[in-house]
Subunit: 270 residues, 4 copies
């Protein structure tokens, strides 16, 4: 699967390194705004042994149309900003190229554009494209369903310089119908990213906690997304859409329970 990356900041680099190490993905190019590192090879720059092309280009060098003609890809991974979409969106959709965007915030106008693109190709947009966070979110929704009377608080910890509330924490709060005051933002030193969803009961607590070790966590999420979007019909997808088929559980093996004639529970995805 041939892939191009838009954006080459810290996260873009980390994701590039994970894609380069995957045998299922072939990194074709990186396009970025800045002229820094122009025409350098990504594997060489990152010190990784790889014979994938992965050259770094500047937006100004090619139009997206020229780029996609010369160096065609099956999927584009976007770690740039809201305006990245203007560069490649229409040209990618026209060619049925899968679009995976990890840009954290889009204006209403851009969300409209995403819907238009999704009439022609698969588009996945997720501001926190890790497996862990997306699992946490689904598990938290389930627990809230079991125990709607629980008190829920979201605690997020990030590096000191991060001034606003974490976008991921905002999504968690929104999906669980919590007021913004439920989010407690801790800012200290170089903490990469911690999200904890705390369920308080009268006599017990349940904590669902995700810790990012490095930005490469996004790379594994991207790999998961690319593998699971392949072959899907066009439309808009979320990480949850892709995760849910995995929620089909095997039957339990404990003695007492298997003594029952019938399989006792099972999940389905419609």
């Amino acid at each position: 699967m041939k892939v191009g990356i838009i954006g080459f900041g810290k996260t873009g680099r980390a994701v590039a390194s994970v894609l380069l190490e995957s045998k299922k993905i072939n990194l074709q190019w990186v396009v970025r705004q800045s002229r820094l590192l122009e025409h350098r090879s990504v594997p060489e720059f990152l010190g990784l042994a790889s014979d994938e092309p992965g050259l770094i280009y500047t937006k100004d060098e090619f139009t997206a149309s020229e780029l996609l003609e010369r160096y065609p890809v099956d999927a584009i991974v976007d770690f740039s900003s809201e305006t990245g979409l203007d560069y490649y969106g229409a040209e990618a959709a026209k060619r049925g190229i899968i679009i995976v965007s990890a840009v954290s915030q889009y204006s209403d106008e851009k969300i409209g554009l995403i819907h238009q693109l999704a009439q022609h190709t698969c588009v996945l947009q997720s501001p926190n494209i890790t497996l862990g966070i997306n699992f946490l979110l689904i598990a938290a929704k389930i627990l809230k369903n079991i125990a709607p009377y629980a008190d829920i608080e979201v605690i997020e910890e990030h590096f000191k310089a991060k001034s606003e509330i974490s976008g991921t924490a905002n999504i968690i709060a929104r999906e669980l119908n919590l007021p913004e005051e439920s989010i407690k933002s801790v800012r200290a030193g170089g903490i990469i990213g911690v999200h904890e969803i705390l369920f308080g009961f009268p006599y017990q607590t349940v904590r669902l906690k995700h810790e990012s070790i490095t930005r490469e966590a996004f790379g594994n999420g991207i790999l998961f997304a690319l593998e699971n979007l392949r072959g899907k019909p066009k439309g808009i997808y979320s990480m949850e859409d892709l995760l849910l088929p995995y929620f089909k559980l095997k039957e339990p093996e404990s003695e007492i329970i298997t003594a029952k004639k019938q399989p006792w529970w099972q999940f389905w995805l419609k």
Copy 2:
């Protein structure tokens, strides 16, 4: 719903206090081995305002048959030991009385007996009858299904005097197919009970953590079990059986996602 309790140790007392405070449950009696507190009133002993009878009897005073004739109940909650079942099991099953046992370990012989009783009434047996732990176990199974390559460790913390590995940790390990070495037992001071299931990934971790605040947590689990067993057909039930119908999630509400025509995911219980 009229309920009797077998066993009046620390956990039995905590559960009794939760049942007394519930308006849906009427505590009829407690039966215990020891003569201590004989004929005392449970509400008075626990300092709770309640006009439920709740008298404390000794096993030697009545046979179970005499007890259940004089003071009939709809359900028996067992916090005693393995032998408790010998006292009340057959008589309760004969009368179709719901049996909820939180006894942690049963011999093979007793498990056989439980199966026999379950041909006549509803029997639920669970060594850790809290909502939190049972939710954690299901969530952990799902995450293992999504990410079978994750490294899983179970960390359990309890008071210093607890010498053996926690029964709950053993169940978690068994249900997740982990070797016993995956359980790390921490013993210090008066810690009531902490269970953490740690999923380690290359660049992120997910921690599912349950903390017991007081033994009353079992009381809420018992309430949940009693309410959900009521009216069910006879047979053996686990806490998971009762929890799963709650796994049916509502549709999400985020803008991007609801823009799609079709509901994007849904859970069913067969």
Copy 3:
């Protein structure tokens, strides 16, 4: 050492149970505002085997002078409210009775009164009279001294119904010169009390964390305070005053370090 308790709410009861179990302390009486439980015996009420008198009286029954004449004590432990001091303060000071107050907030006027009383007897006032919290506070001050550039945040978790910021967290913030915004208050379920002081560095974090298991933790702090105030000259004392003599460390035992001729470090209290 004969002790009387003012106040018999949840914390007062927990502390009473710890004092009753200590062989060094003899609980003489409890005085409270409410007529509930009047003339009941504390050991009997708490279900503890003890032959200490420990009768419960009402404020209206005796003046403090009458009480202290009939049932003299060496120390008074106050878990009531700000006005408790008006009842017993002057009479206790006159008799040189040690005063230990865990009342969380005093007005300026009452602080003035405390200073007057301290000219006649030993007075210790501490809103969180546990060993753990007071150790944490000293340790945090030391770490701030070593690393003044660290980002410090205070995370406190308590039960849902606690509306204001924890008094202990406020003291931590004040003593570490942190703005109130550094305190993140989490409120959920029945959490008894968690205080974490987080030091964030560019590439590492240090967390100092205290968890209360039950209110009896205050009892152990009271025991520590009573034992260490005994025989001290009159004046005002804090928990830190009493803890510091314990900061004298033994010499280390690691091979490399002991190879040095001179003891390498040592603490003194002036």
Copy 4:
């Protein structure tokens, strides 16, 4: 201050990047075993803007004597292995060059050599040369002194591939006189390094916890060590030796306490 580094594995690189960014330190060279990266510039290799020389040499290219004549330094930082010392030890000591070694384990023979070198220059050896861990260790010793009856457990978490018990955890256990069974080792995914010292009391717990975010944490520890060893008399030093002068605390500022005439407490280093 001119500095050379021995060893250029993952940690050596991280430390080099921190030293390059410090204005007080000038990185002269790196010497390593492998011929890889020979004569490359460290700033260029790490992508950092710096005009410090920082060239990479191989052990075989120079003897330590030749190296230190041509490219003199004030301090050598050793992140290689036990045998690194054989290369540079004697020549560095002869010239009074400060030696800071973060090699985790030395044989008795090498410890003897360190003592000999320390008769000529300052030598600091510490297997975990972070500020955080060393603070934790001192704080834990103090708390053990205050509460010798506490139950202490050490929980350490590292990446799956780390097979042995963490050297740091072993040091913590040794310094606190704990049996090896007190160390619980958790191994999962890519966890960089977590050390928690848990003090369990009957009704409360205190947790002292250190988390490494990246290997650069060692760099800050090295900076601290270099700055504080400068000008010190020759001899063996530990991180604790250097930390202790910082334990002198200011006087408190709370109202009640400052009302007392005399400063209430203070620390001294002999």
